[in-house]
Symmetry: C2
Subunit: 453 residues, 2 copies
């Protein structure tokens, strides 16, 4: 199945470009010698080569696939065991031919490529092609044409990809369930994280990004895990798995450490959940993702007006970016081989041709601005955060100081950060939630944490 | 305590070099953009700077410490939360002065340095010093003098280091206990690994190297975890923790998945354990580490003769490298900030001046050939492996084919790989085992796996 999937992918590429392309996988990165980080192949390579081969390249030309890869030296058997040889790998991925890596230098140098992230391989790319090579988002000519063609392919997922993405989603669901079960007895964030990542490791997957597991959910990319977990804390867990072939999931849940939301936490939670549900209900082909973001903004504004935290008409509040005081990021992003899929290409993948990032506070962090199409996979992840730096600044600004009922807001001090995130596949008739099995209704989460779930 | 430890370390350095040195921490490595691997600072930097600061440099001159580091931009508070500013960090590490990173370029360019592993920072080093920069093991002049001075310091551990190393050892012990408890119900290697790494993560530590958790222990650096665990399998687990400040532990245990060694497994296990115990008993100042390796070789040869697997006189078998058919690696290595401490410096740290690697099969993989001194930390890790490639070759070689009783060996087919590894600190009067709390006597391991431990 892998070989036929890859054949179809390069056939699709052939429809879009009439010149050869070479994609490199990259090499393992040194951590502290001789330790390396676990190898992760470049996603563009993985899309067409299927397997995470180290220090490999593929040449795609007219629908044909050539593999360039050096077999490990014989003495490496002692250290790494018997490994597949080049011909076995070539057969597995349906390559039309396979050669040692150095032979790549003998091929015509007219191929397009995409610069990889690691410097050693980047230098190899330059040497092999004998020309300079821009960062992907600054590419020109054939390289840019190749990038646009690959974006077009990777924007929507084929059956093989969807099967991998569903596996990643399932294991991520398991990880979150383990985290919720652990929460009630955990003394630190690290213990909750340990339970979650254990489920991912036990399924022979890796984390698709550095986990966020924190009682300080208002720090959006918090990568520390040393806070104690105390009664009354909300734990925000943003953790996802990646399959061995590189396909990612991305889930966030927020749950009460000791099993019960406080009334204020629950009020805010219900606002975020309402926003998430309305957004997911809106997902279908033809809809603008930007409008889904604005729907989340509106729903949050409405909810905060109802709770007496914001003053005014919800739609006007959104126009003034007041929602962004509490929901300062975008509603989500593309998901695929990368957890922020194809963001190595700058906004070329996330933004439809001719569109660019807004400089509005309430829109500038939107990572995706495209018309949704069937088989696109996106995250839907509204949130509510009390970021001290943001709110302190707003309190001094004419524009915001009267919009927020600061006294009322103070009553919600136990609600630092909430985010609810699922992976949503656009289907022909609407959408399908790959991460649907994980509870997000407050009562169901409470049951799971309390051990009755 | 950190500041005074660091002061002492640079005072010690001052005794050895009379010129300035600059050490860089390195930057986070891209995994798949915008994902990065968890940041790990360069060990030489960590030794003198104490904290894992990203994209930082320190200048050491005449016992003084200058920190060069850019504070994160204000807007990063939204994503990463409040962080310590430069002056707070400087106070914490007892720096004499602290500056933005670009000011490093204004300092005299006469400093020595050690090349870091990541290419971006390496380029910064070259630009700042305005000269070429060799790989550490090919350094010359002041750089080499600096390297030798740092080796001399890092070879033995101060109290702060020992306290960190003990913490790493304790958490690693916990991880191994969790693995043994999991083994009996685990269906795959990955599940055992999940339980082990969970204990490390839960203690807010990282893995000090990529874990080996395998029923194919004969593959020395096996980093796959997808084999099923079946009755009769031995699980070889080589897993260690690293503290947030970068200090490592390194433990291997081999245990029966279902709780009971078979008689053949136990026979071999007892041979390896006897070798390990004799080696540890020998550890004290003034002893040659190479002799400890040879003692392990001899003990294994004796054991295999007793079991009828090898034929001949043990000491002659060792002279002919016959032990290396089953114990092809060295008895261990230095342990400190790196799990193979200072191996970024080639053999400069591991081999005493004037010594070099042997080309003998039974000695060539020895990573450490020094006279032991008080406060050195080494691993002691003998093993027994049936590596098909090695044994098939030996069976055809005149040198070995009659030494091995191949028929007898075939009866031990259920014993693919065994290694027992502890972290042993040389003390003034002998040694101390940092990882002593983890059982290694067969019965005690069986009890732990069976759930009575």
């Amino acid at each position: 199945m892998l070989a036929s999937t890859l054949r179809q992918r390069r056939h699709n590429l052939k429809q879009k470009i009439d010149f050869p392309a070479i994609l490199w996988s990259g090499g393992a990165r040194s951590r502290n010698f001789p330790n390396t980080y676990p190898f992760r192949a470049s996603s563009h390579f993985l899309y067409f080569a299927g397997l995470p081969l180290e220090n490999a390249a593929i040449r795609l030309d007219d629908g044909k696939l050539e593999l360039y890869w050096d077999e490990p030296p014989e003495e490496s058997t002692l250290w790494h065991g018997e490994q597949s040889d080049r011909d076995e790998i070539a057969a597995q991925i349906g390559a039309d031919a396979a050669y040692p890596l150095p032979e790549l230098s003998d091929r015509p140098r007219d191929a397009a490529t995409i610069a990889v992230q690691d410097a050693t391989t980047y230098q190899q790319q330059i040497n092999t092609l004998n020309r300079s090579l821009s960062s992907p988002h600054e590419s020109e000519g054939r390289d840019l044409t190749l990038i646009k063609a690959i974006i077009c392919l990777r924007l929507t997922h084929d059956r093989h990809a969807l099967s991998e993405l569903q596996k990643a989603a399932n294991v991520s669901v398991e990880a979150h369930q383990a985290g919720m079960r652990k929460a009630k007895i955990a003394k630190t964030e690290a213990e909750v994280r340990g339970a979650m990542e254990s489920a991912i490791i036990a399924n022979n997957m890796t984390c698709s990004y550095n986990s966020i597991v924190t009682v300080r959910g208002e720090v959006l990319h918090n990568e520390r895990y040393d806070n104690p977990v105390e009664a009354g804390d909300l734990i925000l867990a943003d953790v996802g798995a990646e399959t061995p072939l590189g396909w990612a999931a991305d889930i966030t849940r927020t749950f009460p450490a000791t099993g019960k939301f406080s009334p204020t936490q629950r009020d805010i939670y219900d606002v975020v959940l309402a926003a998430q549900k309305r957004c997911i209900d809106r997902v279908k082909p033809g809809v603008e993702y930007r409008d889904i973001h604005l729907l989340a903004a509106l729903t949050i504004a409405e909810g905060l007006v109802d709770l007496g935290i914001l003053r005014g008409t919800p739609s006007e509040l959104v126009d003034r970016d007041a929602h962004a005081l509490f929901f300062p990021h975008g509603i989500g992003h593309l998901l695929g081989l990368d957890v922020h899929d194809m963001e190595d290409l700058g906004d070329l993948a996330g933004y439809e041709a001719g569109r660019q990032r807004s400089d509005r506070f309430g829109l500038g962090y939107l990572r995706l601005d495209r018309t949704l199409r069937s088989q696109m996979l996106v995250t839907i992840e509204p949130g509510f955060y009390q970021v001290p730096a943001l709110l302190q600044r707003a309190q001094k600004q004419d524009k915001y100081k009267k919009i927020v009922n600061w006294e009322r807001l103070a009553k919600f001090a136990d609600t630092r950060g909430i985010r609810i995130e699922d992976d949503v596949l656009v289907t022909e008739s609407g959408c399908e939630i790959l991460t649907e099995k994980l509870p997000k209704v407050a009562e169901h989460i409470e049951e799971l944490v309390m051990g009755n779930g």
